[in-house]
Symmetry: C2
Subunit: 194 residues, 2 copies
């Protein structure tokens, strides 16, 4: 449901695999990963538990499958970054593009934030962090002072953690996003100014 069909064989109906993903992410978000049973997912789909095990090796494997699209988008940004000069303008543009990717994957990122332990188990967290480090390497020189490297790291984390943890009251999603981006860009500008 959330995810666009990857291989649209008949273009008509989502595959069983995709239906499982859709139901799973909905229930995981509602009740949490650990408190959503496979029986529950199976019942929502009108199949048995064992049917799920045909499509996914384990329960954690279902969760891990959510990240494919996000990881691809992030790779795309870094690929672009590799072709650009290592200067401030490139870096602000990288952050702008990353903000867009985040925007398109908020449910997945929120799920990740809430279930880091489960994802670490399946070595999915390291895949995520590896990409985060690749982006980081584009935002700051590796021989820069610690505080510069750390500020670049914060520029990345700020961008999605505010979206998830900042205690909103009246503000719209767009306002949050815009302010996050401004703070994030401000941090690498501070690096460039020094």
């Amino acid at each position: 449901m959330t995810e666009a069909p990857r291989e649209a064989r008949e273009q008509n109906q989502p595959s069983t695999r995709e239906r499982i993903q859709g139901t799973a992410i909905a229930l995981f978000s509602e009740h949490g990963y650990e408190h959503t049973s496979l029986r529950e997912i199976a019942e929502h789909l009108g199949v048995t538990k064992a049917a799920l095990y045909y499509h996914f090796k384990t329960k954690e494997d279902i969760a891990a499958s959510f990240f494919e699209s996000y990881a691809n988008d992030l790779d795309g940004i870094c690929d672009w970054g590799d072709t650009q000069p290592r200067e401030l303008a490139t870096r602000t543009e990288l952050l702008r593009r990353y903000a867009e990717v985040i925007r398109a994957h908020v449910p997945v990122l929120r799920f990740m934030q809430n279930n880091q332990a489960a994802l670490t188990r399946l070595d999915r967290m390291s895949v995520f962090r590896l990409r985060q480090r690749r982006l980081h390497a584009l935002l700051v020189e590796s021989d820069a002072p610690l505080i510069h490297r750390m500020r670049a790291w914060d520029a990345i984390t700020t961008l999605y953690s505010n979206w998830i943890t900042y205690p909103r009251v009246d503000e719209s999603e767009d306002e949050i996003r815009e302010a996050s981006l401004q703070i994030s860009i401000g941090m690498i500008e501070a690096n460039a100014a020094a």
Copy 2:
């Protein structure tokens, strides 16, 4: 083990309750909360599962008990902050004190970061966030522009999230802590300058 004895009755040996806490936080950190069974904890202590249930209502209750000391320390900071003028010098000092509290509770905070979902279940996460918001209210005026309020929020989260998520290589814990604090203070200085 990690926690200082609260009520030192005989001053000699830790109580069973404290022994459970010590073993639990060690095993939770090693294998993760969800993948540590009560049987495992009980076996390490040479008691039965049921004995754990005498001292704690549920498994989640064990995890929740870790936070008492941290919460108290954070309350202490805010109590002090309430007596001070609402100006920049107070705010940098608040961050400095908070950094010290974090330093004393890194294992607990790391555990929290990794198991947000489990803690949300027991309504322990909201207790934590409530205190975070109290500190936030001391760092920024409630009618300040969104970007200022958000920057104050980032000043708080940066302080402990860098400690946990920043990909360290050679840097010592002290260097990380010092750099985090500097970035954090820089953010509320940016607020004051505007």
